[in-house]
Symmetry: C2
């Protein structure tokens, strides 16, 4: 057990995303009672590349045992720590429209330990209400208070496109440094702020593009 920390070498976003995938794989294996695995086994079962798994993990330490592989629960613990999931991650959802409400109740978030602090909206008639699962809707001013108090780790932006930049600027000014944005269009954030976009229109149009290119055709054998 060496656990070198290579002086915070820059790690690509792609690697970060894959770590999350690996963690999910390990959850599945653990739930199935598997105690030990290997990069090859993981790769085969989840359609990944074995060398890539090893390389991704190697950024953070030496978690495997040569000749054996990885201990599932141990590697899981490491990955959770690397991903920052070993402490509560507090998420605020900005915008209590259809999408915001759906995200607030999304099971996947709770499962991996994210704490949904609340929904926040400016519409007075929404404030005081709650999602189906009981997440409360607060005024945006309340979000500002929480964020300034350092109680928000990640802001999820689910407001209409017109207000998105304004809302993001506000969140950043309140000290939020990580944002998951669902509104369309490119937002600008300053240095040191991490913005991740989920653009539903772009996703659908990529599929449409595929179909338009003849992707729907039967490939000639």
């Amino acid at each position: 057990m060496k656990n070198k920390r290579p002086a915070m070498e820059p790690v690509s976003d792609l690697t970060a995303g894959r770590l999350s995938v690996y963690l999910r794989c390990l959850n599945v294996l653990e739930a199935g009672g598997v105690k030990t695995t290997s990069s090859k086994a993981l790769a085969a079962q989840f359609h990944l590349n074995a060398a890539q798994i090893r390389k991704d993990l190697a950024y953070f330490g030496e978690f495997g045992v040569r000749g054996v592989g990885y201990y599932v629960s141990e590697l899981k613990t490491h990955l959770r720590a690397i991903l920052g999931l070993d402490r509560p991650v507090r998420v605020a959802i900005l915008g209590a429209g259809n999408l915001g409400l759906a995200l607030a109740d999304y099971q996947g978030f709770q499962e991996e330990g994210f704490a949904i602090i609340g929904l926040f909206d400016t519409a007075a008639h929404k404030v005081g209400g709650k999602s189906r699962q009981g997440v409360l809707i607060h005024d945006l001013a309340e979000f500002q208070r929480c964020a300034h108090a350092g109680q928000i780790d990640i802001a999820v932006v689910a407001v209409p496109a017109d207000n998105a930049q304004q809302v993001v600027d506000m969140a950043v000014n309140c000290g939020v440094r990580a944002i998951l944005n669902f509104s369309p269009g490119a937002l600008k954030v300053g240095q040191g702020i991490k913005l991740k976009n989920v653009d539903l229109t772009v996703s659908l149009e990529s599929l449409s593009f595929f179909l338009a290119r003849g992707g729907g055709d039967v490939p000639d054998a």
Copy 2:
């Protein structure tokens, strides 16, 4: 106007996504009354790289005029055709949970011309209902009928993770060749089927990773 079609050279997914972004930029410009633009102007305004815009477009033809740039409405028309948006793109949403309902009412889809055919679910008590915006909820059997009749271009999967693979297999068997999947976990599809994943857990965990790495720290000037 040469409009060479380079024999359906393979185009990367990244390029496809950017075309969609360019189209949105052009919509903004057109709405602002701008008649002509250039790769440099687009790049500056929307934080893109000029050479990349030109290269992306060059896969599909020569749409620009040297010394002038691009005519906004003309390029828009080309992009819409390239993305397959010059004909109705029919979208079915599988799973009438919170997320499915939110997606059915998502404004962005209608705006760019996607036709939401309906919501589809197996839960008998949901069938016959509708989303807030009035999208009807049908039985999944109805989806199979539509898909077999070639009336569905894209299936959006918003069912619980446990059923996702099964639902995707069903859709593919009914002739659907493009799928936008919101359920977590890696799904398998055969050759010639395009599967695009939107993994909310992975997105959030990437942000958590960034924060855990010290991303929240003030960078030293």
